[in-house]
């Protein structure tokens, strides 16, 4: 009898997604679903979908779901978790959603130490609305609202969410992963597992930033998109764990001290 050693996880519904060919949103979905399955928490997990290409995430996971308003998923997750601390709550958010309009909500959710898990999908663009500049768009990268490429003098440099959040004093798990190669995807899953586990143990807030491709709005085929990610995004968005509940405060010290 052949044994099935790789197949769709239970927590991922058996439907075709609306994602474009090669879009790694699908990969990230699968990794989350695998972690939920492996931790055995599917029946008490509630997801929060963002507004972005993953707006229909509630159609893809075999768990209860809330569809949040644009950027406010961390607040919605807070409401759920405070109402029902026994649930496992995760939000799934894009970079426009989390790093632009939802900046206040993610920082305060992390800073309050809400025991929720945030999966932050950074594809350096607004996918759903057709390729506008995101806070994470790379310098020089062309987008529909920066047709000549992102000009850092006008729009600033890309925001690094993992770095930003890891400076908060409240204990948390913060990591950045990528799924553009299978081995990195395996590592991403490990990060997600740690993130969910810490929540389940009631330890802390957790966030995994996952670099993702948007072949459609980057205007390049999927395989090339993984190379672009590797070449352009990876040097600016280093992978790894930025903060663990044990690692304490990581904020910068003053360059020079004030007079005392």
């Amino acid at each position: 009898m052949p044994e099935t050693v790789f197949s769709r996880p239970e927590a991922l519904r058996d439907v075709t997604t609306h994602y474009c060919p090669g879009c790694t949103h699908g990969t990230i979905h699968r990794l989350i679903a695998e972690v939920i399955d492996e931790l055995g928490v599917r029946e008490r997990t509630v997801g929060v979908a963002p507004v972005g290409c993953s707006v229909l995430a509630y159609n893809y996971f075999e768990t209860d779901f809330h569809e949040a308003s644009h950027g406010r998923a961390p607040a919605v997750a807070t409401g759920i978790k405070r109402a029902r601390p026994d649930l496992v709550v995760f939000s799934y958010q894009g970079d426009g959603d989390l790093a632009s309009i939802g900046m206040a909500e993610i920082i305060h959710c992390a800073n309050r130490g809400e025991k929720v898990t945030v999966v932050f999908v950074n594809n350096a663009i607004y996918g759903m609305t057709g390729g506008q500049m995101a806070p994470t768009t790379m310098p020089g990268q062309v987008a529909t609202t920066c047709p000549l490429g992102r000009d850092v003098d006008h729009a600033g440099h890309p925001i690094r969410i993992a770095e930003l959040l890891s400076t908060l004093r409240t204990p948390a798990f913060v990591a950045r992963a990528s799924v553009h190669t299978p081995l990195l995807a395996v590592n991403a899953k490990e990060m997600l597992r740690r993130a969910f586990s810490l929540q389940i143990e009631g330890r802390c807030f957790s966030l995994v930033e996952v670099l993702s491709t948007c072949p459609t709005n980057w205007g390049i085929p999927p395989a090339e998109a993984t190379r672009w990610l590797e070449k352009t995004m990876l040097p600016y968005y280093p992978l790894g764990v930025f903060k663990t509940p044990e690692s304490g405060s990581r904020e910068p010290r003053p360059l020079d001290r004030g007079v005392r």
Partner: protein
Amino acid sequence: MAKKLMKGSEAIGEAAVQAGCHLFFGYPITPQNEIPEYMSMRLPQVGGTFVQAESEVAASNMLYGAAGSGERVMTSSSSPGVSLMAEAISYLAGAELPVVIVNIMRAGPGLGGILPSQGDYFQATKGMAHGDFRLLVLAPWSVQEAADLVQDAFDLADYYRNPVLVLGDGLIGQMMEPVEFREGRLPIKPLEAKTWAATGNDGSKPRSVINSLFLDPEALERHNVHLKEKYDRMVRDEVRFQSYGLDRDYDVLIVAYGTVARVCSTAIDELAASGVHVGMVRPVTLFPFPYQAVREAAARASSVLVVELSTGQMIEDVRLALANSKPIHFLNRMGGMLVSPDAVVDKIRAMADGRSTEVVHA
């Protein structure tokens, strides 16, 4: 329970707690800071949770998450803060979540001032946010009624799966009056278990998805029709109003709500003492508006006086009710200035001797 002398804001908080509200999400803003402050002290005592949100935007979205989990939840704010909740309130209505929202109105527009106003009537009853939806809007005129309506609001919200707005003004929030909480209060509506709540799924029921997105326009149209039917049921079943002085003949009918109606009641009493009889219909639900009650009571009067703390908003609903059948006069103050009983008395006298002119619409 014995009567307690309570600030309106605190009575609102206590009423919510007694109605089983377990979670409060809010952000400070005058003149209703005492509501979150009370809840921050009181909820932990009953095993509930108070979260000071980072903003009204966040508070209203926390409300969404907690309500979607099936708990009784509340937020409160004052005018500018409520405007920041607009998007989320539209989501709450679209996803049919039962929540109670308290707006202790202050004067606007913009930062305006912090004194009482009724400038948010249109926002509360008609255009709160994008999309076609309605809130059930309850407008107390005393601290006791504020407490009662807050408790009813939770039942109505659960029954209709719709946000309910309690619309007070700075006076309701700040003044102290005796309040009594009925023991063993029963829900005013038959309530069912919230099987729709998203609380995890073990396969024993369909998945719960708290949602207002319908990409298929036919599905969204069906949803809109469903919502409209719900609002129509509210219009049919939930109209509330109070009559004052309608047991005698009267020449003028006053229409006013909230604390303004109380001021009018004093004026009516004073006029009665001098032999002038004036009636009043006080809408308690602003949506649904008591069109019929106003129409019927006005039929017995020769003219109608609308009193508001705004440039004139409820007056449009009164005009819809009356359809030119009676002359309408208008008395208002704005910006935190209050209508005094004397001003109402003067206005009624002015109507009697022709010094007041009817409001005519463009």
